[in-house]
């Protein structure tokens, strides 16, 4: 699972400070109910209770373990949720299937706090349906004792020991495209095939393609290097409480992901949902959440005001240097690209590791 408590300690320290949020709730919501459906362990301890207190409302808070569970539930008809938190990859489908409501930007006074890097991304141009919540990267988790220091994809490909990759077609082939000097979002069949061939040719030491358990393969010592979502590796680093493991955002650039706040179609209380989104955008509230999850916050104001724990804010594995940040790419899905990526990834799965 991607969302995990990484900085329990930090969260405990912060929750004391977080008691005073200056955000003021618009009038007229007292006594109402908001129903939130979010990833497990994805808010700070007092995020929900502070909102209840500020607005005088009651929040029903349900959690899910995979985005697919949430999408399937909404497809069967919204059971009454006002807020969901989809991953970027599922947003275009949800919009196309009419599962989301448009969000009224006029109700979001704090929208300006967000970092432009995470706005207006191809999965939802103009942020009509989604507002960025947390972000992270697909990078390299590795065993420092076995591998030494590494900084790039090239370092990973130069390593001879056992390596595990990630079952994430767009991220992996996007990386392959980068390595063969192409646009990571190329729609050309020739480019995508060249990327797949590069991965096959340079993946002879790949022993496993992890669904979402690369961090366990790393922790068990089965692979020395794994390509994984940042949060998964932070989890292993945290549980181990040792200096054995490290995570790096490769300097060539990599895919990043964004989870967003969204309002599902048929939400019983859309106005309160918009108030909730505005509340999350308040710098202190957003900072508390990111200090708890240890993922990146898209809330630039929170970073600028120094509300993010120093230890997290200074960690290049969470907030990369401007140089590396400029090389991050956002994987685009399109109807023309999807089958090409799919077929190319099949080839990788069949031939890699031999």
């Amino acid at each position: 699972m991607r969302r995990t408590i990484v900085a329990c300690l930090a969260a405990a320290v912060v929750s004391a400070a977080a008691a005073q949020t200056d955000w003021t709730c618009p009038d007229g919501f007292a006594g109402q109910t908001l129903s939130v459906y979010n990833w497990a362990t994805y808010v700070a301890d007092d995020t929900i209770s502070n909102f209840e207190a500020a607005c005088g409302v009651r929040v029903i808070y349900d959690t899910y373990g995979s985005d697919e569970d949430m999408v399937v539930r909404l497809r069967q008809g919204n059971p009454g949720y006002d807020i969901v938190v989809p991953t970027n990859a599922n947003v275009p489908t949800m919009i196309r299937e009419g599962l989301l409501e448009k969000i009224d930007h006029g109700k979001l006074a704090n929208l300006g706090n967000l970092d432009a890097t995470f706005m207006n991304l191809p999965f939802d141009p103009g942020n009509e349906y989604t507002i960025p919540y947390q972000w992270g990267t697909v990078g390299i988790g590795y065993n420092v004792d076995k591998v030494g220091e590494i900084a790039s994809w090239a370092d990973m490909f130069a390593y001879d020991g056992p390596v595990a990759w990630l079952q994430d077609t767009t991220a992996m082939l996007g990386m392959g495209l980068l390595m063969v000097g192409k646009d990571p979002n190329s729609e050309s069949a020739a480019d995508i095939d060249a990327a797949a061939q590069f991965l096959i040719d340079n993946g002879r030491n790949v022993i496993y393609i992890a669904q979402d358990d690369g961090q366990e393969i790393l922790a068990r010592g089965e692979a020395d290097i794994v390509v994984e979502y940042s949060g998964d590796i932070f989890q292993v680093m945290d549980e181990c409480d040792c200096d054995t493991y490290a995570y790096v955002i490769p300097e060539e650039g990599t895919n990043f992901w964004v989870d967003s706040l969204a309002i599902p179609k048929g939400a019983p209380n859309k106005a309160l949902a918009e108030a909730f989104i505005d509340y999350i955008l308040w710098p202190q509230v957003g900072a508390d959440i990111s200090n708890y999850t240890a993922f990146g916050t898209p809330n630039l104001a929170a970073l600028d005001e120094g509300l993010i724990d120093e230890e997290l804010a200074d960690d290049p594995a969470i907030y990369p240097s401007d140089e590396t940040k400029a090389r991050l790419f956002f994987a685009q899905q399109s109807e023309g690209r999807e089958p090409l990526l799919n077929d190319a990834w099949d080839m990788v799965k069949i031939f890699v590791g031999r």
Binding site: T169, Y208, G221, M347, I350
Partner: protein
């Protein structure tokens, strides 16, 4: 017997067959029809089947996925053969115990693993075979090896997992047919001058062949479609066709292609069942 009574019996028989019929139609036949239908369609956005109808998925199944398909057939055959070589002597040994209590106890031991979930047992195998696992620890402490061996994520690991998982399916039918064997045939063979070796190959083995074939089918069918074992123990080097089918269903796969591979797998299983009905039950 009156016509009314006959009709009543038939009505009752139909009534008793209804729940099972309903079950099979809704949960077996309909999904199968959907898979068969979608295997001839094109891939739409998100991987769903759309028109126009095409044979492209089958073409892709035999070209791109062909090597994995045939390798899976080979892996399943080898797993069957190993299970037979391990299972036959054991089944024979158990059925030759004099005390029924001993026989029951030994059979009970064979079936004991079924009391635990297959996934849990697979994870147990992983803890034995992983890099810092029990086997590597044992070998290293005995000084047999200096560095841990890569046992997990190899084709051999998949073979161990498959044989471990399906061996009881081989033992039980063979046990049944050895048990039913009339010992006087063996005595007659010996009286006619056959030594034990000849008696085994010319009398005992042919007579227990139905059990051998039944056991082989019961091992081969789940082995060829195996998903959990190659997924958890095989990695990239022990990939089997079940893993590639799984990748086509679910998010952003290719349901028509997954369906076509499934239909080919179904055909392979069907052929092996034909083999069973043609040769396995000949003696009965």
């Amino acid at each position: 017997m009156t016509r009314g009574k006959v009709r009543g019996d038939r009505a009752r028989a139909v009534g008793m067959a209804l729940p099972a019929t309903f079950w099979l139609v809704v949960f077996f036949l309909l999904p199968l029809v959907f898979v068969a239908f979608s295997s001839f369609m094109s891939r739409g956005p998100g991987g769903q089947p759309v028109s126009p109808a095409t044979l492209a998925q089958y073409e892709r199944t035999f070209t791109v996925f062909g090597p994995v398909l045939w390798r899976s057939v080979g892996v399943a055959l080898l797993a069957t053969l190993i299970s037979l070589v391990l299972g036959y002597p054991l089944a024979f040994f158990i059925s030759r115990r004099r005390s029924p209590t001993t026989r029951m106890f030994l059979l009970f031991l064979v079936m004991l693993p079924f009391w635990t979930n297959f996934l849990v047992r697979t994870y147990a195998l992983i803890t034995i075979m992983q890099r810092d696992g029990l086997l590597n620890g044992l070998f290293q402490s005995l000084g047999v090896i200096s560095a841990p061996l890569q046992m997990l994520f190899t084709p051999a690991a998949v073979m161990v997992g498959l044989v471990y998982g399906y061996l009881p399916f081989m033992i039980l039918p063979i046990y049944a047919s050895v048990e039913a064997l009339d010992r006087r045939y063996v005595e007659a063979a010996n009286d006619l001058g056959a030594n034990d070796w000849t008696a085994f190959w010319r009398v005992i083995f042919p007579l227990t062949l139905p059990g051998v074939i039944a056991g082989s089918i019961l091992v081969f069918i789940p082995a060829i479609g195996a998903y959990v074992t190659p997924d958890l123990m095989g990695g990239t080097r022990g990939l089997m066709i079940g893993n590639l089918i799984q990748g086509q269903f679910g998010g952003r796969g290719n349901v028509p292609l997954g369906s076509a591979i499934s239909m080919v797998l179904l055909a392979l299983v069907f052929i092996s069942v034909l083999v069973y009905t043609r040769w396995g039950q000949r003696e009965e």
